[in-house]
Assembly symmetry: C3
Homo-oligomer: 173 residues x 3
């Protein structure tokens, strides 16, 4: 049964790597993005091909041109072999910005992250990522204002996910 | 290893709270929605701010104006500390209704549920939810009829998920 | 605690059934699709009603008319009772093809897979699936070219998820 428990824990930690990446990108928390990769990790992205150390400033510049992003992931399947794992994660990424009728700022992409991860020093991280773009659809002209106020997001420590963190004493994850 | 197993079980039960909420909303099962919150739980929503006991009739009225909804969740990350947890869940909610060219009835929203959950009497539930709206896109005029019949949904016990339940003897969850 | 571990493992294996189905459909790997069902399994689909053995060639013909598909799943909730499970999985499926302004080739559907699964010979598989279509939206005219090169997908062993598999010695899953 220990093998089963180890497998399930590995799966959880591997999933968390991808979740940290997405949160980091969407909240502009580049340290969190970086934490998803091992040092020297390689990223193959639409428009970028190289090391994580160069990917970080490149993606940060791109994100800075946008008003916000949301990287929603779905299907996540890890094939684990010892300290290595082949991990596929499906997702759709919403991008927005002003003016809202500009399709180069307002669009949604379908993607798959194909990650080669390794466990080093007990921690799973990305060694090589192939970010496959499946489709890109304009959202220009689709924005609707439903005229009701409500909680809003921030790409800063002012976002609710950070503001509520103080309630955690010593987080387990 | 017991700690690991407890963590994984907590994560599963916390995820189920969010899943029950979504199913309840989409099937108009208000008891299921309510079961996701502890009594007196607070909900901050687009257009609503208050206790779950008041949220239920408010959201039920809004849902009644629509033909249907689908709250698809993705990224789900719980940070657990003892009997408390900070839980972020990404999602996209499709809304539809007649006439189908009305953008106030036919739209999709991107959201994040930022939940403070607690375990009380052994059960995890929402104590405070901040439902952050990220974007809202019109689906008016996008409907296509592909001309093929097939299974359909219901917001009642006639939905397939309820009809098949009789096959379960004594469900474990 | 053994019961808890068994439950969590069952949940993982049940989820993998759905993940294998989606990957098989999107990569045109019909053996993988078939592996999600027990022999004689029944599928109720938009435009199809019958056994998996007949569903496979039917769906393969339909997929062949498209340039690609992406079946992104989200909410996944299994209610397990012994060797049976009632499993609901939410998803959105993107379809595309040429010409890209044809709404019968370029559209996204919202669906729920309502599956009755059973464990036979230690393996979970679908015995009956009701694929409920919730909505269908045209993506015709929404395609944007963002003018940057990057990794692309294939519906063949050339896809990155297959190319990287050689790095796995003996995969655990």
């Amino acid at each position: 049964m220990d093998d089963v428990l180890s497998e399930l824990l590995d799966r959880q930690r591997i999933l968390e790597v991808v979740l940290r990446y997405c949160r980091g990108i969407d909240r502009l928390d580049m340290d969190l993005v970086r934490s998803a990769y091992h040092p020297g990790g390689i990223d193959h992205h639409t428009g970028f091909d190289g090391k994580i150390e160069d990917y970080i400033p490149w993606v940060e510049r791109g994100l800075g041109r946008l008003g916000g992003t949301m990287h929603r992931i779905g299907n996540h399947l890890a094939e684990i072999s010892g300290d290595g794992a082949l991990v596929e994660t499906y997702g759709a990424a919403s991008h927005w910005g002003e003016p809202r009728d500009d399709p180069t700022l307002n669009f949604t992409t379908g993607f798959r992250y194909v990650d080669w991860m390794e466990r080093r020093g007990g921690l799973w991280g990305i060694v090589e990522r192939i970010a496959v773009r499946e489709w890109a659809h304009s959202d220009a002209g689709r924005w609707v204002t439903l005229g009701r106020p409500g909680p809003s997001a921030a790409r800063s420590p002012d976002d609710p996910i950070y503001r509520l963190r103080s309630r955690l004493g010593s987080p387990s994850a």
